[in-house]
Symmetry: C2
Subunit: 495 residues, 2 copies
């Protein structure tokens, strides 16, 4: 390989290592830091971000990138690495400094206002700030779309979902939108027969933590390379060799935090399985947010809410908490972990109604970015869409368009990855089951290693070598196909 | 103030903030990181150190420093800040890159060899590596002494004890060396009458931690700006606004970890009390290692092993662990926390014998740096000195010249600060008692705020504005005076 490419690898290693340092400090901020450390930490994070941005946008990187393109002797991995370097460079350099700073100020101010507006259900108070954010985001989309040669919305989507195209998403979401209302009614009708009771607590936090760690360990989480701690908003952070999971415990109900831990474990296994030989290079990073979410949802939704897993897990839960009585039966947990109920809040939504929340947001943010809608139209459009797909109308904007931080914080183009992730998870798990005919029996035995090995060979180990689409074709035989997810829903909720 | 000085403040702020980030990652490495994160963390730490070194040694800093010296309108704080900037710049630029790299390699290799040599008591196996470290350290001392205009040893001392001079230390240590042998015999004679018993455990770690936090809180540690955690080697890390203490618990004996927590609390209170308006500037940092150690020893030795403190603390200890019987009496704890016994190991030494360990090392490392002694002479010289001051001879080098990491790791010039710190603590506490006539009664009431307020006004709040010597003159009326420490020892151990 050529000298310029080799130099680029050195530079990008520094950029990645600096990102790792920032990631650890971010984890600490959420899981460990006392409140009084906030100002000092903000300074540290801002400086690391600035240094990283300066490295990424240096003239040297630009020159090396141009020279490396002419060096024709790269292998597949190196070529993919160079492509991802270029993507990173384009996103980092597309906006001029004034715009970057304006966005940073506008989102940080808007987020502050939003916190108050949300608690008071007062959309009007935040709409001027949101208009400013939208206005600047449109400018950013414009600048990036020119460099990337794609639509405004796709330029934003590309930040989270590399090479993602709304032209691919539209028919998939349209199929879901057509499917969901009738299906939901059928599920609700069927679940009328069911009832479940929440096991009665209190459940000591130490025991909840030990239980979570038991399942994490079984799933393949390596505690020599990671930790489980507590934070207000659970997340998976850290670095591939030092994965930091967090959760939040409720002494009255262990079932929700437990499923949260398993969800984050899916993210963690993906990070941990990224190709070791490409650590600290763009091609060694996770492919994008859809695929990341697919790995957490594969563990949480496909595996851990399955009959196979619950057969294994419920006796362990019962033993941990010394549970007795009907609420500790397998049947009760199955109903509990599969209850479907339309609600206003996305993050509380079940697997069936979740796509409705996402499709609504996707359509709105696309229209907003493309200039087909304005900020003041959001509340009415939101409520109309909720009524149409889920048959419910939020009592106030607090339970409606004020609930999520994303738009107020500048994260436009992120929402579709949640549902693309859920669908990808179904498709990957279906392929894994085909390749591993005994995988469900293995899971019931508490043996997750065949599944994890398969995921490592077919998904995790590819890093960002292939596009998300190509990786899915390679591992499952076809691009994202909504019918696989639909079949999963039918099988789980109507069979 | 001039433009160059203002620019320097901006640059040094970045340097300090980067140091803060590294400090948090260092804490995490010791207190939180799983073993498998070590390689990634080493990369992060090395990169931050390189970036920091590059900022510190940039031509821009050199030019600004030269220009700022000509700007005559600096106030006292700014002038002191510029002086500390210059000191940092000299230390950072004195060695050429080859020497820096050679030292880094030699110390890291020597430290590895030392770990094995220590466990086997085999000094010969590490002496070639130690010779290499000494050789390079002599070169570093040479380079720094030329820039600082001081002796070889003082050039190394200056890294830990700014403006410290062996010419000042020599008479102080000579006085201690003359005083100690007879005094020690007298104390041992007197303590023959005494006996104490260790309260019987086990002592649950949660309760030990809660007890430590109770006392930390009483002493003025602000948990909105800090934490208490566990690490193999207890330390005080983090940043002034987010101070991270660690300790190590022993379920069989709570008394040692507790005193360790109180010691680190002293360090923490100093960090926390540094001048807020000079955060992230050299003049806003702690003055040096002697003064830092004086603050930990003031809390541990002067305050927490005093009658006044034990009267307050023993009933709380007893209540915490539900203790009963004679081992929980005030008298027993007083004897336990003041037991004097000559031993081989510095870190286990009591207040009376500790100076002997330090004086021995100081004399040896000075002779070694100045070329008056060679590595192969160390074991015999060590053992002779131990016999002379403490009347004991180590059974092997493991309990002798192999016990401390400092020389093997390249930390030459550090040792004297421990005993200078102990003496400084005695002198500062004596001044505080004079200024605050009721301070001991306050302590017995569990009220430490008058003492902390005094320390903040007279010590902590000065940062690095004054030299250690000038600060001591200002706060106690005289430079370091061994008779104050000697009076303290006599009063506590022979009265």
């Amino acid at each position: 390989m050529g000298q310029s490419y080799t130099q680029l690898e050195k530079q990008f290693k520094r950029i990645h290592v600096l990102g790792d340092a920032a990631s650890m400090l971010q984890w600490d901020m959420s899981a460990m830091m006392p409140s009084g450390g906030a100002n000092a930490r903000t300074e540290q994070m801002a400086l690391l971000a600035t240094l990283r941005h300066n490295m990424m946008t240096s003239a040297e990187i630009g020159d090396l990138m141009a020279a490396a393109e002419k060096e024709a002797d790269l292998d597949d991995w190196q070529a993919a690495n160079l492509k991802e370097m270029q993507r990173g460079y384009i996103h980092a350099t597309a906006l001029d400094e004034d715009l970057v700073e304006a966005i940073s100020r506008a989102t940080s101010s808007c987020e502050q206002i939003w916190r108050k507006a949300r608690s008071q259900g007062d959309f009007k108070s935040v709409s001027p700030a949101l208009k400013e954010v939208l206005n600047l985001t449109r400018k950013a989309a414009q600048a990036k779309s020119e460099k990337l040669g794609c639509s405004l919305y796709d330029a934003l989507l590309d930040q989270y979902e590399p090479d993602g195209k709304s032209a691919d998403i539209d028919p998939i979401f349209a199929r879901m939108e057509a499917f969901l209302p009738d299906f939901l009614q059928a599920v609700l009708e069927k679940q009328k027969e069911n009832s479940f009771t929440l096991p009665e607590g209190p459940f000591a936090i130490d025991q909840q933590k030990a239980l979570g760690k038991t399942f994490m360990d079984a799933l393949g989480f390596d505690f020599d390379h990671g930790r489980l701690d507590v934070s207000l908003h659970p997340f998976c952070g850290g670095t591939p060799d030092d994965v930091r999971l967090t959760t939040r415990y409720d002494e009255a109900d262990f079932t929700s935090a437990l499923m949260g831990v398993l969800h984050e474990t899916g993210h963690a296994l993906y990070e941990r399985g990224l190709p070791v030989e490409w650590r600290n290079q763009p091609v060694g990073s996770a492919r994008g947010m859809s695929l990341h979410e697919s790995q957490s949802l594969l563990v949480e939704m496909q595996v851990c809410r399955s009959d196979a897993f619950l057969k294994y897990a419920v006796p362990i839960m019962k033993e941990t908490f010394n549970g007795s009585g009907p609420s500790w039966s397998l049947d009760n947990f199955t109903q509990l972990y599969r209850a479907v109920k339309p609600g206003f809040i996305r993050v509380d939504a079940d697997e069936v109604t979740y796509p409705a929340h996402v499709i609504l947001r996707y359509k709105l943010e696309r229209a907003l970015i493309e200039g087909d809608m304005e900020v003041e139209d959001i509340p009415a459009a939101w409520n109309e869409s909720m009524q149409k797909i889920l048959g419910i109308t939020p009592p106030s904007d607090r339970e409606g368009c004020l609930q999520d931080i994303h738009w107020y914080d500048g994260a436009w183009g992120y929402f579709p990855t949640y549902t693309l992730g859920a669908m990808t998870a179904a498709q990957i798990f279906a392929a894994a089951k085909k390749a591993l005919p005994t995988v469900e029996e293995d899971i019931t035995q508490g043996d997750f290693s065949p599944l994890l090995d398969w995921l490592r060979s077919n998904i995790h180990g590819y890093g960002s070598k292939l596009s998300g689409r190509d990786l899915l074709i390679k591992s499952t035989g076809q691009p994202l196909e909504p019918e696989v997810f639909i079949a999963h829903l039918k099988d789980r909720y109507l069979a």
